[in-house]
């Protein structure tokens, strides 16, 4: 499930998460999760809200304890270590600055707790302020700062402690678009400069693609895929990722035959082609094709019979998005740069794609069908009164 190309080749693992589970009462929030985070990398944990990414982060930071499995930092288990005993710092979603302390005291707090001499604190706070470009703000209070400035204070307050790992929990979500883009660039360059491992939690896929060395995509408590941004975008391993990262067109299709690397498929709207990946006959799969990779013609192309009508053309500044409705009602999105041709609204056409642009995604539906075939339904019928038919059959 999880390939982990080491970003620099010989990088040292810094956080190792092994078979970690977390339950909240009966809720299974993090499911058997394995993830290795390397030294000096920028790793994003990406997923929709409620996918367990914040819980995972809280497990690493020590605000929550995992139910089973183990988390190691530099090879050392920290299951029962309190947050203040871990060499990890966090930048919180809503900054969580101390409202009753000045910027200086906020940033100095970690060093004061470590009983660093005052003169040294002064020097290091100054350096941290320069690092986040907030010189001269020492005496201000958090309430006197803008969102972006608060963010910088929160970052300075964390990095001043020279943590092994800096965790950032959706740090930019409260900022406006423009400031967010600017902070993305700043954070990325800061990470390079400091050489600290950043674990960046976000639900914004664009942000993750722009900033990360690797992206770990979580869905419903499960780590779906962890890979480089290009890899995730070009070769999503699950339907969820294909859908979640960037825009895509998904075709639920059945395998007819495979020949010379080509898979002949059909779906509700007609025939289509994909890459051969040793499917079973009649296996149900998903074909994912990015909107910029969809091609069209007036006549059906060999192997394809996906006809549709062009419903709408939307101007988006740099691209034109065309909406095509297929014969079964499925909507297909086509993106083209403004200066290249797009399909005419109202025209009837056939869509196709090049084989290399089709990403083949396995579905679990096939496994379910296989399991269903092997189920002996007669034993169920006999024990229909019992809740667990299998167990009672054994008795």
């Amino acid at each position: 499930m999880e390939k982990e190309p080491e970003p620099g080749g010989e990088k040292r693992p810094i956080v190792e998460i092994k078979n970690v589970n977390k339950f909240y009462g009966g809720n299974h929030v993090v499911k058997n999760l394995n993830l290795t985070i390397y030294e000096k990398e920028f790793l994003s944990i990406l997923g929709p809200s409620g996918c367990g990414k914040t819980t995972l982060l809280r497990l690493i930071a020590g605000f929550e304890h995992h139910t089973s499995g183990e988390i190691l930092i530099e090879g050392e288990r920290l299951d029962n270590k309190e947050p203040f005993e871990r060499n990890i710092n966090t930048v919180f979603q809503n900054y969580a600055l101390f409202p009753h302390m000045s910027v200086y005291d906020n940033i100095a707090y970690g060093l004061k707790m470590k009983k660093v001499p005052k003169t040294q604190i002064k020097v290091r706070v100054k350096q941290a302020l320069i690092m986040v470009r907030l010189e001269g703000f020492e005496k201000r209070y958090p309430a006197q700062l803008s969102g972006g400035q608060k963010q910088r204070v929160a970052i300075a307050r964390a990095i001043i402690n020279n943590p092994k790992v800096l965790i950032l929990d959706e740090p930019l979500s409260a900022l406006d678009m423009k400031l967010r883009k600017q902070m993305q660039i700043e954070l990325k360059s800061l990470q390079k400069k400091l050489g600290i491992t950043f674990v960046y939690v976000t639900h914004d896929q664009e942000e993750a693609l722009a900033m990360s060395d690797r992206i770990a995509v979580m869905n419903n408590g499960v780590l779906d895929q962890c890979a480089k941004p290009e890899e995730i975008y070009a070769h999503p391993e699950t339907k969820f990722i294909a859908d979640f990262i960037g825009e895509t067109n998904l075709f639920e299709a059945v395998v007819e035959t495979e020949e010379k690397g080509v898979a002949y498929l059909y779906c509700e709207a007609g025939d289509l082609l994909g890459k051969s990946e040793n499917f079973d006959p009649n296996e149900i799969i998903y074909v994912s094709v990015r909107p910029e990779k969809i091609l069209w013609s007036e006549k059906p192309v060999e192997g394809f019979s996906l006809g549709g009508i062009v419903k709408e053309s939307i101007y988006l500044g740099n691209i034109v998005k065309t909406i095509i409705t297929l014969t079964n009602g499925q909507v297909v999105k086509v993106n083209r740069p403004v200066d290249s041709p797009s399909p005419q609204v109202g025209s009837i056409l056939y869509i196709y794609w090049e084989l290399k642009d089709a990403v083949m995604i396995y579905t679990t539906a096939q496994d379910v069908f296989k399991q269903l075939e092997s189920v002996d339904l007669s034993s169920f019928a006999q024990n229909s009164n019992q809740n667990a038919g299998k167990e009672s059959a054994n008795v």
Binding site: P83, F84, T90, F98, M113, K114, A143, Q144
Partner: protein, 259 residues
């Protein structure tokens, strides 16, 4: 025109509020024993007051009872407010509603109930019973003010402090308490003032040896108020006035800090 009428109106309001107080202060300097006409200016009653041991003792009693009951109410009330903010537990809603009862219940009823409790549990009436009684009715006010302060409190702040290396005790003393301190202070101020001028509950729960200032005044009303009571009242007012100015200056400063 509009300006003038609004000035007159606010003048009336202020006169309504402060005229009775002004009269007390003025008559504390009156050489006549009767407080109907102002004769001559004198400090006589202030001297008299210093010689009036019973009066001063009642005042000392009041301050002692108010201080201890405020301290107890602040400790219990703050802990209750923090617990109710932080934890979800069974019966929280009930406790929440019950907190209002000492506030809305007629003081006479509360006074009688406390008196019977002291009688049943053999607690002698005196300073101790007074302190317990005053603590009882002060707690809800502390809980309310501290909770109001906590309502905007983000628990991530405590997590941030722990994340930066503070242990639980350091979080409490360095983060939580300083942040809710304004709520604690205003709760304490409320509790203190409520205790100082409480008459009804004190009337039921006090003993012979622990007459408080309001009780003393009430007692002296029967035989006619002597101007030395005015003198002491004026001094109390002066102290209150100074406290209000200090606290206002403090909140002005902290609101400036926020801007």
């Amino acid at each position: 025109m509009k300006k003038l009428s609004s000035r007159i109106f606010s003048g009336i309001v202020f006169a309504f509020l402060y005229a009775p107080i002004a009269i007390v202060i003025i008559f504390s300097f009156n050489s006549s024993r009767r407080n109907i006409v102002f004769e001559n200016f004198t400090f006589h009653w202030y001297k008299e007051m210093i010689g009036n041991d019973a009066l001063l003792e009642s005042f000392a009693n009041t301050v002692i009872v108010a201080s201890f009951s405020t301290l107890l109410a602040v400790i219990i009330g703050t802990l209750a407010a923090v617990a109710m903010f932080r934890y979800k537990f069974k019966g929280k809603g009930v406790i929440d509603a019950l907190l209002y009862i000492p506030v809305v219940i007629p003081e006479v009823v509360l006074g009688i109930s406390l008196l019977s409790i002291f009688a049943i549990s053999n607690i002698p009436l005196g300073r101790i019973s007074l302190i317990i009684a005053h603590t009882t009715f002060s707690i809800p006010f502390v809980v309310f003010t501290v909770r109001a302060r906590l309502s905007g409190y983000d628990r991530a702040i405590e997590e941030a402090a722990m994340d930066l290396g503070a242990n639980r005790f350091q979080v409490l003393t360095g983060i939580t308490i300083p942040i809710i301190l304004p709520g604690i202070i205003s709760g304490a101020a409320l509790a203190f003032t409520l205790s100082i001028d409480d008459f009804i509950i004190s009337f039921f729960t006090t003993g012979v040896s622990s007459i408080t200032f309001p009780l003393k005044i009430m007692e002296s009303v029967r035989s006619g108020i002597r101007p030395d009571v005015y003198a002491l009242s004026s001094i109390i007012m002066l102290i209150t006035f100074i406290i209000v100015i200090i606290s206002q200056a403090g909140s002005y400063r902290s609101s400036k800090k926020k801007k």
